[in-house]
């Protein structure tokens, strides 16, 4: 089975699955500010892992817009979105370790970044190896979630995250 690895993240994919580890190409820092106020946070592009059991389109957003529209009821999309290293100290990332055994109770259509009828989603924020991540999962069918969640868990089981090295 093929290995996807980069930026100190490694995932083993089942045959026929697509995977990408991307860092936004523009490379520019993104200043986040309160409405009309000062800059409160400067985000620099960080690695984003996309894993899917369907063909990932080239043009897609960090949280899968552009890809989720193509999903059928047998499809799953897994996103590992890394945040700034400083974020690891914030309460939002207090949970330790990547969730590897999701259940039906972990999914809710309200968790979708883009609500599409029939889809359901999962979001969790965690820290691992001194790094802050969001795990975002989209299932192409709520009714088939009992069959789709094991596919996701099988991939999550193989994810290895090690501390970032400089450069």
């Amino acid at each position: 089975m093929p290995d996807l690895h980069g930026h100190q993240v490694r995932v083993t994919l089942p045959a026929g699955w697509d995977g990408r580890i991307t860092v936004r190409r523009d490379g520019s820092a993104e200043a986040l500010r309160t409405a009309g106020g000062p800059v409160v946070f400067t985000a620099r592009p960080q690695p984003v892992v996309h894993i899917a059991n369907f063909a990932l389109p080239e043009e897609r957003a960090d949280f899968g817009n552009g890809a989720v529209e193509l999903m059928g009821d047998r499809d799953v999309l897994v996103v590992l979105f890394e945040y700034e290293p400083e974020a690891v100290e914030t309460p939002m990332f207090a949970a330790r370790g990547l969730p590897r055994s999701l259940t039906a109770a972990d999914f809710d259509p309200a968790m979708l970044r883009r609500g599409i009828a029939g889809h359901t989603g999962h979001q969790s924020f965690f820290r691992q190896s001194g790094r802050a991540f969001c795990l975002y999962v989209v299932l192409g069918s709520t009714t088939r979630r009992a069959r789709l969640i094991p596919l996701v868990n099988a991939v999550l089981e193989t994810v290895q995250i090690t501390p970032r090295t400089p450069g």
Partner: protein, 265 residues
Amino acid sequence: MLVLVVIEAVVLALLALLVAGLLRSHAEILRTLHDLGVGRDPLAETGGATSPVRAPTLARATAATRADQPPAVDVVGTSPGGDAVVIGVSAAPQPTLLAFLSSGCITCRHYWDTFGAPGLDLPGGARLVIVTMGPEAESEAAIASLAPAAVTVVMSSEAWDAYEVPGSPYFVFVDGESGGIVGQGTAPEWDQVVRLMTEAGDDGALEAGRAGADRRARRAERRRLDDRAREARADEILMSAGIHPGHPSLYADPDHPDHPEHPER
């Protein structure tokens, strides 16, 4: 003296025979190379060949040839921008056309341009993936400048080895449902590649993949239409409430004390 003249004449005759043989052999080699398409430059304005030249080796796999072929494998490599990439091919829900191209070959230039054209249609709902040699053998900058925005490009020397690619351009057509190689080879023209894929689809070999790809395309189109309808509905509701483009409430600062939803109001 007479003996010497006779010997000299015999030697000359033998030499003439040898030269004639060499010329004939040379002509045979040139004709064979010409038939194979070697030296044909599709971009040259005045080509040497005026008669049609058959595609040299592009061929569909038969039951007999499939047994000798290496199995289809997923493509692992990097994008021209350095992303780690895995492309599912062997058990993918749709057929995949792997186009092995390079930045230097002249015939490949025709394919880079063709694949960059908008609305490129692949028979059987196939997915197109361009595979170049890895960064150790290809210029990432050159590939990045050639890569069409909407087509997946993977740099992977391992894939060239796995599919035993003899040179570029080279095409491998894989049926994802069965994981089998449906056809492979090289061709100077895109039409010949399309014909190979169409015939494979007509045989029913790719029926499941084609149906899946069609469903996926219809679903994407329906969702695009849903988006437009949702946007139109939102516009209609906002406008019926007197909120038109440029309305100040659209740009109000929610933290400002005068904002209608500010907690201190």
